[in-house]
């Protein structure tokens, strides 16, 4: 990658970071949502042994972790493109930048956001509910792979629907088929990490999440470039 591309991508990334740190809208929304949801879940599970084999609570915990990460993330991620269209600043990017640089700058910022959200949710969830991680590497790889996949998928959805008239319906139609396999792989990985599912299945799911992230990040810039000026 030439220094011109790097500088362009970093400029978009820094712009996203500066605007988010100054407005704090995404950080506050994701943080509050994560905190309130995890506290609510921990109140429901209060006084229950979530690590007891055969109780089924490990499976539920695995699903809940991904539900919290998913919803905390999709509250903000599509905004990176939608906001540009709504406030009219997308024209500046179209005039000054190349589409691949814009996409990479934004997706890197979104990966940072989802990883931050996933880490926060993890710490809160494990801390409040007392869930024990039996296979830490599957947990970490699932979390990182899942976060990158989600950032890639939701950024792409945001980019596609940003210019559409009926955004909500289109976003749903595109996001569901993109996110469902991701959540399924994430839950499978997390179940294995919590000691409920098979370790082999968990490994496959973790690898699947990394592959999913690679596919999303590889095709995203090309799709975005195709819709860049339409």
């Amino acid at each position: 990658m030439s220094s011109g591309w790097k500088a362009e991508i970093l400029a978009v990334y820094r712009k996203e970071l500066q605007t988010e740190l100054r407005s704090k809208s995404g950080l506050v929304t994701a943080g509050l949502f994560s905190f309130v949801t995890v506290v609510t879940i921990s109140l429901v599970l209060f006084n229950k042994n979530v690590n007891a084999p055969g109780s089924g609570l490990q499976d539920i915990s695995a699903g809940l972790v991904w539900v919290v990460i998913l919803f905390a993330s999709i509250l903000n991620l599509p905004r990176t493109f939608l906001l540009e269209e709504e406030q009219g600043t997308a024209d500046l990017l179209r005039l000054f930048a190349r589409p691949h640089a814009v996409y990479w700058g934004k997706v890197l910022f979104n990966i940072l956001q989802v990883l931050g959200t996933a880490t926060l949710v993890s710490v809160l969830f494990l801390g409040f509910t007392g869930t024990r991680v039996s296979v830490p590497w599957i947990y970490v790889v699932s979390l990182i792979g899942g976060s990158c996949s989600m950032a890639g998928a939701v950024t792409l959805c945001g980019a596609i629907v940003a210019q559409a008239a009926n955004r909500a319906a289109l976003a749903g139609a595109i996001a569901v088929p993109l996110l469902l396999p991701l959540v399924q792989l994430g839950v499978t990985g997390m179940r294995a990490a919590f000691g409920s599912g098979l370790v082999g299945g968990g490994q496959a799911a973790a690898v699947g999440l990394v592959a999913y992230a690679a596919i999303m990040l590889a095709i995203g810039p090309w799709i975005y470039a195709a819709i860049w000026k339409t």
Partner: protein
């Protein structure tokens, strides 16, 4: 003195809904533009659903050409400039620009927004990094007389100050093609003087197109194109 323009291209085929564009002085091909064009437009048309905003536009501009686009509100002046800048896709025809438009084209539009959280300096630095050109922040801010506000975020700028910043962003890479949409609309007398100086400077390095409905801005140009409903 305004050059006489001759009609070179008119839409050959009239559709059921008549084209909305007519040029009072014909469609422009300046003599310089014909020899060595900086910007060339061929059969350009834009329509929204069944309504043509303009159609059959053809002109070419060379270095030193300054074209003013006149017309009533809604005649399609801004749409034409946005189409030339690549922000709007034409329904037909094509626009030929110099290579690397992000550096060779400058555009300042009324509807163009700025990032509310970023300061004046940060806007210039961001644009320079994206275009891979020199930021020239001190020089540009002196030129548009906005140096005193360089640390202010765009959300704290007045409309006129924003117009000055947009002008600075447009001329930052020393573009060969400069497109200004209603450049004096929100500027005071001093600001309009800055626009005049920028237009004069542009003539030495490329071509200029100004869209306006202010008759006094006709003096910024040596060519005219009138869009009529």
């Amino acid at each position: 003195m305004r050059e006489a323009l001759r009609a070179l291209s008119l839409p050959a085929e009239r559709t059921a809904a008549p084209p909305r564009i007519e040029s009072a002085k014909g469609f422009a091909h300046s003599q310089k533009g014909l020899l060595l064009f900086v910007l060339r437009v061929e059969g350009l048309g834009k329509r929204y659903e069944s309504r043509w905003i303009f159609r059959g536009l053809a002109f070419s501009l060379g270095a030193g050409d300054r074209l003013v686009v006149l017309g009533r509100n809604g005649a399609g002046k801004s749409t034409l400039l946005r189409t030339l800048a690549g922000l709007v896709q034409p329904s037909e025809g094509r626009v030929e620009l110099p290579p690397e438009p992000r550096r060779s084209l400058g555009f300042s539009g009324l509807e163009q927004a700025l990032y509310p959280q970023l300061t004046v300096d940060e806007h210039l630095n961001l644009a320079a990094e994206l275009r891979d050109c020199d930021a020239r922040a001190d020089e540009l801010l002196d030129q548009v007389e906005l140096a005193y506000a360089r640390e202010l975020p765009a959300s704290k700028l007045s409309t006129g100050m924003k117009a000055r910043l947009k002008l600075a962003l447009a001329i930052q890479p020393r573009p060969q093609v400069l497109l200004l949409d209603e450049p004096g609309a929100s500027l005071d007398e001093q600001g309009r003087g800055i626009v005049e100086a920028v237009c004069a400077e542009q003539a030495s390095r490329g071509c200029l197109i100004v869209a306006t409905n202010d008759p006094t801005e006709r003096r910024l140009a040596n060519l005219e194109l009138r869009l009529e409903s």
